[in-house]
């Protein structure tokens, strides 16, 4: 960790995180059975938010796969013609 930086630390394992969302996700995933209700709500909302972002990301992934496929097919067509 860079010196002098403020970080959110996990109350259970003292691991530092760059922002509160990451911390909430970590607490929910790793310390799910030990966390408080407030932490669980924070985890769930962070997860929902991330879920939306992940969906958009997956759309971009599928688009990238399509482009990759198309490029490969076209290059083979050109080379083998």
């Amino acid at each position: 960790m860079p010196a002098g930086a403020e970080a959110d630390r996990c109350p259970y394992c003292d691991h530092p995180f760059r922002d509160a969302t990451r911390l909430a996700l970590h607490v929910g995933e790793r310390h799910g059975d030990a966390c408080t209700d407030a932490e669980r709500t924070a985890y769930e909302s962070a997860r929902d938010e991330e879920g939306d972002e992940l969906f958009m990301y997956h759309l971009r992934v599928i688009a990238a796969l399509g482009v990759l496929y198309a490029v490969l097919v076209l290059v083979y067509m050109i080379v083998l013609a």
Binding site: A7, F17, R18, L25, R47, E50, L54, Y57
Partner: protein, 461 residues
């Protein structure tokens, strides 16, 4: 417990019998088939059916008469009680391990003997056994089946015969092992150890002396931490389907144990990177382009072994630096406080499938092509047979390319699993992989180029 032995205690030890029977083919000679001048001996004679039925009836009646001759109670009971018994799976495992240790030591002695007194030239049985059978073929079994080296290791077995002192190893991590690995590969490339049996004998003797001395002084820790060969097989074994567990063996998805493996420090990471580099280097030195490059440097007056040494070390430096750089960038793309060193350590096991896939791509053709030569040489160790090689079909090269790609696919999957274990959430782990994917794509393309190059004999050094 006094009294006559119960039927359960008599009988042969099944485990010992299995090991002995399995060893018999090693002692069998070759059989010469022979066609006799017995033409026409196979034509069947017709027998009338009433005679067949009469014979059957006579046999059954005769069997009654015969069994009525056996009247001793004890004998009747002992015929039915005879059995083959295996005390337990653990006892069987112990017997197999003892057999493996004996096989390892016998193999080492045989290799030394044949290397010293057998025919000179690269078809010597010892040369083929060590390079085709052991370094290519046996290594492949460690990542395709399981790591059997701790049992088979002849030096480990021999160390137990020497009175040991069991000092503590100084805390040098895996750096000696890394240096040893780089040194052994450099030796393999620049010296005639892979073609001259006498030189091979010399190297094996030297290695034996060093290993026995280290093993006698430091005990098992030498083989676990310092010996490069044992470490290579241990790391490859992490990939294999058959894994040792606390209470026996387990069959896992190949590479499935990698996300659970922890590397202790940066020196162990360096060893994994060195293993990856040497498998690439082995392929690189037999490409025509490389020979051209080395040729031009040698023409300037630099001795070839020095050029290869510099290349070995420089390449290792490039690979290690590249991996460390990728880890530093991964820290940035994942936006994490996990240190770059910790990232290096966690993700290094994902490099092992690449090394294994590359090893197989490089050596599969070699083993298949030279297996008849190996078989002939092993059965006639003291004569000098002509070199027979299997001519590989044209599509075999495609297998090697496919193996390189599959190896990288496994590595990407393992790295994905490790990332999800290391970072919270679902997007952060994915983002952490960007720098590694860039490196992997470049490395795959380079490896495929190396594997598809025609074989060029490395410059005479």
């Amino acid at each position: 417990m006094t009294g006559p032995p119960t039927p359960g205690e008599r009988g042969t030890r099944l485990d010992r019998l299995i090991v002995v029977l399995a060893a018999c083919p090693l002692l069998a000679g070759t059989a010469a088939a022979h066609v006799g001048a017995l033409g026409g001996a196979g034509t069947p004679q017709p027998v009338p059916f009433w005679l067949v039925a009469l014979t059957g009836g006579g046999l059954v009646g005769g069997s009654f008469l015969f069994t009525s001759l056996m009247t001793d109670h004890e004998t009747i009971r002992s015929v039915n009680a005879s059995r083959l018994r295996m005390r337990s799976v653990a006892a069987f495992a112990r017997t197999v391990r003892r057999g493996a240790r004996a096989l390892g030591v016998l193999g080492l002695l045989a290799v030394l003997a044949v290397a010293l007194v057998g025919p000179a030239g690269s078809t010597n049985a010892a040369v083929l056994v060590v390079w085709v059978g052991w370094w290519a073929g046996y290594t492949a079994t460690t990542y395709l089946v399981g790591n059997s080296w701790p049992a088979l290791n002849p030096w480990r077995t021999l160390t137990e015969l020497i009175p040991a002192t069991e000092r503590d190893l100084p805390d040098v991590g895996a750096w000696p092992a890394t240096a040893g690995l780089l040194g052994l590969v450099w030796l393999e490339v620049v010296s005639p150890v892979a073609s001259d049996p006498r030189f091979l004998a010399l190297v094996v003797l030297g290695y034996t002396v060093v290993t026995l001395a280290g093993g006698a002084r430091f005990g098992d820790a030498w083989f676990e931490r310092v010996d490069p060969v044992a470490r290579v097989f241990r790391l490859y074994g992490w990939l294999a389907p058959v894994q040792r567990t606390a209470d026996g063996l387990a069959l896992r998805v190949p590479g499935g144990t990698l996300p659970e493996r922890e590397l202790a420090d940066r020196s162990e990471v360096a060893f994994v990177v060195a293993l990856l580099w040497v498998t690439t280097f082995d392929g690189l030195v037999s490409t025509p382009a490389w020979n051209g490059l080395v040729g031009s440097v040698v023409d300037l007056g630099v001795p070839a072994p020095l050029v290869y040494l510099a290349a070995t070390l420089a390449g290792f430096g490039v690979f290690l630096g590249g991996y460390r750089l990728a880890s530093r960038y991964a820290r940035r793309t994942a936006a994490t406080y996990v240190s770059a060193v910790a990232i290096e350590r966690r993700f290094a096991p994902a490099l092992l499938p690449i090394a294994a896939g590359y090893h197989l791509a490089h050596y599969l053709g070699y083993v298949v092509g030279l297996s008849p030569a190996l078989a002939t040489a092993v059965t006639n160790p003291l004569t000098s047979p002509a070199l027979q090689a299997v001519v590989l079909p044209g599509w075999f090269g495609g297998i090697a390319l496919a193996l390189v790609v599959v190896a990288h696919l496994v590595a990407v999957w393992v790295a994905h699993a490790i990332a999800f274990d290391l970072f919270p959430g679902r997007l952060q782990p994915i983002r952490s992989q960007y720098p590694f994917v860039v490196v992997m794509v470049a490395y795959t393309a380079t490896s495929m180029w190396i594997v598809s190059q025609p074989f060029a004999r490395p410059l005479a050094v």
